[in-house]
């Protein structure tokens, strides 16, 4: 099933959680809503579910306007961050709940309900734990029960709120892979909320980056990383260095020094230059590039992480080298920026001015 959100706005009191957001998930797609807390991602998910109602805008399932429909009429599966398992019911009863509360004419016979619950328990690999209570399960197991319970009603849309937020790192990684696989097998259109970029980039077909109630970018993971649409996306996804620069006469200058970047910058005036730690080269300090002083060198696995001090830049410039070279601490070097993105200055919400800015051959 496809889901389309059109121009949805939502306020809580005077606080605007969403400003006219539009979004579409294609049938079978796995979509991630990624953003910091307060970005409106959970509100958007809850509006899709029917747990909140928008002040403005419409929500469509397969082209049909379901904005006014209550959550119980929407046929969606919702997995809560804290799982919200019914603590006085066994695992099996939890899973069967959605089938048991159906109206008599739609309700399968008792035996069929049990069978279906057992099937789901198998599916989430908890075959022999049906008789336990939620308090007797580990975090990862509870998460699977919550998922099985949501799947029991054959939802047309699966919504997950921070599905791995409450788990430790190892279980999280395992469950992530498993969920990806499960989605591949079942093909239910799914949307999940996360503040963890790694999770979003690894799991989703497309990532929706949000900030302050606005969608900053919707794109496949690779594109989000390689071609961030705004300064915010660049800063939020992946590691970034950010330089305040002045743009004029086709030149990008940092503290008066013109940077050797290719392409003509599409903006004028104050700007922000972003570049990834591995999109740089270190060379002799010959005055052609920015001068940096190496302050720390760490070798980790196959890469060398270098922190370098740059005049006028408070934090160290982060550099990652892969070719085995390792500068000395205290060494004075020239910093060549190989690939960068340029945005007009003006905070996190500033739009990307041009895609072609900066790459150097």
């Amino acid at each position: 099933m496809s889901i389309r959100v059109h121009n949805v706005a939502k306020k809580f009191g005077t606080y605007a959680a969403l400003h006219g957001v539009s979004l579409e998930a294609r049938p079978g797609e796995f979509l991630a809503l990624l953003g910091p807390s307060g970005s409106g991602k959970t509100t958007l998910l809850r509006i899709m579910a029917g747990l909140e109602f928008p002040d403005e805008g419409r929500v469509y399932f397969d082209g049909q306007d379901i904005t006014e429909l209550q959550v119980r009429e929407r046929g969606v599966g919702f997995v809560f961050q804290q799982y919200a398992l019914f603590r006085h019911m066994t695992v099996l009863d939890n899973i069967a709940f959605g089938l048991k509360v159906k109206k008599r004419r739609d309700r399968p016979p008792r035996r069929a309900i049990r069978e279906r619950a057992r099937e789901l328990l198998e599916l989430v690999q908890l075959g022999d734990l049906g008789g336990r209570y939620p308090s007797q399960l580990s975090g990862g197991q509870r998460q699977r029960v919550a998922l099985a319970r949501a799947l029991a009603v054959d939802p047309k849309l699966l919504l997950l709120d921070e599905p791995f937020g409450a788990l430790d790192a190892k279980v999280r990684k395992e469950l992530r892979r498993w969920l990806r696989e499960l989605h591949g097998r079942m093909g239910v259109t799914s949307v999940f909320v996360t503040h963890d970029q790694e999770e979003a980039l690894e799991l989703a077909d497309r990532v929706v980056v949000m900030d302050h109630g606005v969608i900053e970018q919707v794109a496949p993971p690779q594109e989000i990383y390689d071609r961030p649409a705004s300064a915010f996306v660049h800063a939020f996804v992946g590691e970034s260095n950010r330089l305040a620069v002045e743009v004029g006469n086709g030149e990008v200058r940092y503290r008066g020094q013109a940077l050797r970047l290719s392409g003509r910058p599409a903006i004028e005036g104050p700007g922000e230059l972003f570049f990834r730690p591995h999109h740089v080269k270190l060379g002799p300090d010959d005055g052609r590039h920015l001068t940096v002083v190496v302050s720390q060198v760490r070798k980790l696995g196959g890469e060398t992480r270098v922190d370098a001090a740059l005049d006028g830049y408070a934090a160290p410039v982060e550099i990652v080298l892969h070719n085995g070279e390792a500068p000395e601490t205290g060494q004075k070097l020239g910093l060549e920026i190989v690939h960068a993105s340029l945005f007009p200055a003006g905070g996190a919400g500033a739009r990307r001015s041009s895609d072609q800015a900066a790459p150097l051959p």
């Binding site: 119980r72 919200a84 019914f86 959605g98 509360v101 159906k102 319970r149």
Partner: protein
């Protein structure tokens, strides 16, 4: 005993424990014991006669009737108020929370007087009620009203912190799975709050049966008609009928002990503690 952790010496600890026990013994256990001693002073037969005497029986019946009406009503009101406060946001919510505590903060005598002022012969609705020959003050309805007012906070106060802690997730999960409002309440909410609810009902009942001040104002002390057990005790005592007074009082004391036992059993069995309830 972790003297190391707290750092107090053995003597200090012993002293504190002794003070606590002495205090408890003098002010609580001794009076409680004296009730039973006084009640049985003339022997078990006199005790029995005092309890089955017609006025005493009628007082017991009235007390049970008042509790049987006010406790279920406050169970429903309290659960509804706690539900509204913890599961919805609405204007006037903080005012409602404040008003729930009113019966705790106002003197019971004042609570009684409020009803006299409203429904008494000289009260706001006095003429209206007199014309229709409806008697509220100095009659059973007044006693029930005053008792409901006094015992209103118990269930709500017990449930609000519990339901606030549990949040709305469980209910939302049930709704998202297609359950109706009623199904959600019966299958999810009620099981989640049942022990807190029982605890609140227990305390509510103890107070409903034991309330003196407010009931005294609206009752009129008509023997065999509008006397509840606490009022009956007072009348007997004022007539120097000590054995009968203490015999009826002992029934109330037994009720209190039973309440404490049940309350402890609940806490022990289900690990439920009345968190942050302030009484």
């Amino acid at each position: 005993m972790n003297a190391q952790a707290t750092g107090e010496s053995a003597a200090t600890r012993l002293g504190l424990i002794l003070v606590a026990l002495l205090f408890l013994g003098l002010l609580l256990v001794l009076p409680l014991a004296s009730i039973f001693v006084e009640a049985l002073r003339r022997g078990i037969a006199a005790y029995g006669r005092a309890v089955v005497e017609p006025d005493a029986i009628s007082a017991i019946k009235l007390t049970l009737l008042v509790a049987a009406i006010s406790v279920p009503l406050n169970l429903v009101f309290g659960a509804a108020a706690a539900w509204a406060i913890t599961k919805f946001d609405f204007p006037g919510k903080s005012i409602l929370i404040t008003f729930i505590d009113l019966p705790f903060s106002v003197s019971p005598v004042v609570s009684g007087l409020i009803y006299v002022l409203l429904f008494g012969v000289q009260g706001w609705f006095g003429d209206y009620l007199a014309e229709r020959d409806i008697q509220i003050i100095f009659a059973v309805p007044g006693i029930v009203l005053a008792t409901i007012f006094i015992t209103f906070p118990f269930v709500a106060r017990e449930l609000i912190p519990l339901m606030a802690e549990q949040g709305r997730d469980d209910e939302e999960a049930a709704l998202s799975l297609g359950a109706s409002g009623w199904q959600t309440f019966w299958n999810v909410t009620l099981p989640n709050i049942r022990w807190g609810l029982l605890y609140g009902v227990l305390l509510c009942n103890a107070r409903a049966m034991g309330e003196f001040g407010a009931v005294s104002v609206v009752s009129g002390h008509i023997r065999g008609q509008t006397n509840t057990m606490p009022l009956h005790v007072e009348i007997l005592y004022n007539e120097y009928n000590f054995v009968a007074a203490f015999a009826v009082a002992s029934l109330l004391a037994l009720l209190a002990i039973l309440t404490l036992v049940l309350k402890s059993a609940l806490e022990w069995r289900y690990g439920y503690h009345g968190r942050g309830t302030g009484h």
